[in-house]
Amino acid sequence: MKLFKGGVHPPQQKNTAEKATVPMGVPSVVLIPLAQHLGAPCQPKVKKGDTVKVGQVIGDTDAYVSAPIHSSVSGTVTRVEPVVLSGSRPVMCVEIKPDGLQEISEEVKPPVVDSRESFLAAIRASGLTGLGGAAFPTHVKLNPPKGTKVDTLIINAAECEPYITSDYRECLENTQGIIEGILHVLKWTGIEKALIGIEQNKPEAIKMLKQAVSNIPSITVHALPTRYPQGAEKTLIYTLTGREVPSGKLPADVGCIVMNVASVAFVASYLKTGMPLVKKRVTVDGSAVRNPQNVEVPIGTLLKEVFDFCGGFKSEPGKVIMGGPMMGVSQYSLDLPVLKHTNALLALDADEGRIPEETACIRCGRCVRACPMRLLPLELDRLVKTQQFEEAQRFHLMDCIECGCCVYACPAKRLMVQSIRIGKDYIRRNAKK
């Protein structure tokens, strides 16, 4: 096993690890965005006033890099219009008022899978995107361009972000499902072996997974040192295989495909039941939450209902984050929905949520030591702030994985990742022109 360079050790805060997942009931309203994946947004397939059932397709598109969107409840469509979510552009959303019956749609039936093509078609139809957080459509990931030879499937159960325990609960509560899912993927994609990577701070899950694969030679479980960002795609590949993904390339170029543990488990459940991706296990935690726990939430449920389900707030939250504290995205309102790739909802109280004031860089180089991508965050920050974008590209600005190690390590509290994001945004905009 190789150790990646850099990384940090934030407090783990896995407060919800020992709490079993609680399914949430039918919410009073769901708001389902039609772009929950990287790639082209879906077109609405329903209109205001339509009746929909659980698992019914409500958005789809012909574009290849995309995944269909399904209704997570049965009820009536009350609104189909663009809503500004936490991103920069309005996203077309379907609002559904549930009738509480949760009738299952006739479209939901186990898919017939007898070849690689039908397997990939089934994965697309399931609406599965990378559940680890990047939301890359899985059927695209499992179908690497011709000429690339993939020999290793890596299952990401590292869960290196503080607070989040939803993947850990998946490992404990659905061990068999994970193994079945891996076997399905191996069988239909022709990949020879699968490596499960999991951080050492989850001994219980390691034990259960090792037990489950004891007589399956193609799957092995690897305990990894606990260090953030162990679960980032490139660092995980490096640790498990020693292969380095070159700048601007994909994992498939070094013969690897990385899937989140919840994604493979979903593959197994979809092939068995035909129920598309309509609910998600979400860790609800943070200093402002009264009753932190893992909740199984219908996709599209508004954040306020999820927090209410967890006993509401102890104190007024100063910041609400979707995802982990290192890479998650701040939410400006509690009226925004839970998405497919939401793995955690954190409500931090006003003190914890405050960003300390930025002071001058003292050029100590801690960010350089912390960067797992071997970049120079202080230089990238300076180059973006002085508008030298071409120079920043020479310093491999686009290779930043935005893990936040540099900012965490910085004694001057400089917001380097945000600068880098501005730079990336600028370069992408100008590349399009």
Binding site: V84, L85, S86, G87, S88, R89, P90, V329, S330, Q331, Y332, S333, R354, I355, L415, Q418, S419, R421, I422, D425, Y426
Partner: protein
């Protein structure tokens, strides 16, 4: 006596290299079109880059060698452009001076805040988080990306709103390209009454989010004697070709969204 030899050697070398250089400067001389120098003199010399070339020298070369239109420089005065056109022996036709306008009046007191923004003070950064912290998705973010892009110091920033100082604005368009909301427009300097809003929300929503938003009430369209105003997507638009600058629209506008942008500057309190 010993001084003579070094003096002679150095003088000899000097003479030799002098002749060599003089010869080289004649034979290997790069011919510079003298018109480039002259064209360059008529350009503003701010090197703002708005023309797309590398500064004024770059544009001067391109005008002479590649036949680029003298009007390519958006900053140049009418006289300057005509002088270059005359020099190049082409007819530039009617040149209209442009000026940038921010079409938003939503300061922090007029448009409510969606959230408190902490982080890098840059409009693009704030725009990545829910399209900025103003309740109005279409409005000015007010962190001054345009101000930093302006080579002429012609943008003032107050209470979360940017405003162009028309006397300083040369119409180079750098701010137009920079604004993530696309609410800075280049208009002919003589453009009068303007709808200072970009909000396309329905009337009720727009009114709730901002006190000076266009609510698409159509009053201006009805009162306009020249038929220059159309309301599309809940937003009024004035066709400046038809507008006669009578000002009736500004009088009837219940949100005071329409202003004579040529003669008055909108308030920023």
């Amino acid at each position: 006596m010993s001084i003579i030899i070094p003096v002679a050697v150095v003088s000899g070398l000097g003479l030799f290299f002098g002749i060599g250089l003089a010869y080289a400067s004649k034979v290997f001389a790069v011919k510079v079109d003298e018109r480039i120098e002259k064209v360059r003199e008529f350009l503003p010399g701010a090197n703002c880059g708005a023309c797309g070339f590398s500064g004024c020298d770059g544009l001067a070369e391109a005008i002479v060698n590649e036949g680029v239109s003298p009007g390519k420089c958006p900053v140049n005065s009418k006289e300057g452009i005509n002088a270059i056109a005359e020099l190049m022996g082409i007819d530039e036709g009617e040149v209209s001076q442009m000026v940038a306008r921010v079409i938003c009046q939503g300061t922090w007191t007029k448009a409510d805040m969606k959230y408190e923004y902490q982080g890098v003070q840059d409009c693009h950064a704030a725009n990545q988080l829910g399209g900025g912290m103003s309740q109005c998705y279409y409005g000015c973010i007010g962190l001054g990306s345009c101000q930093r892009a302006c080579p002429f110091d012609a943008i003032e920033l107050k209470n979360g709103l940017a405003r162009i100082i028309p006397e300083k604005c040369k119409g180079c368009g750098m701010c137009v390209a920079e604004c993530p909301k696309g609410i800075i427009r280049l208009v002919p300097v003589l453009t009068g009454f303007t709808v200072l809003c970009a909000n396309q929300d329905k009337g009720g929503v727009a009114r709730k989010n901002c006190k000076v938003a266009c609510i698409g009430c159509m009053k201006c369209q009805k009162v306009c004697p020249a038929g220059a105003i159309t309301v599309e997507n809940n937003l009024a638009r004035i066709d400046h070709e038809k507008c006669e600058n009578c000002g009736k629209c500004a009088e009837v506008c219940p949100q005071s969204t329409i202003h004579d942008a040529m003669h008055e500057r909108f308030p920023m309190d």
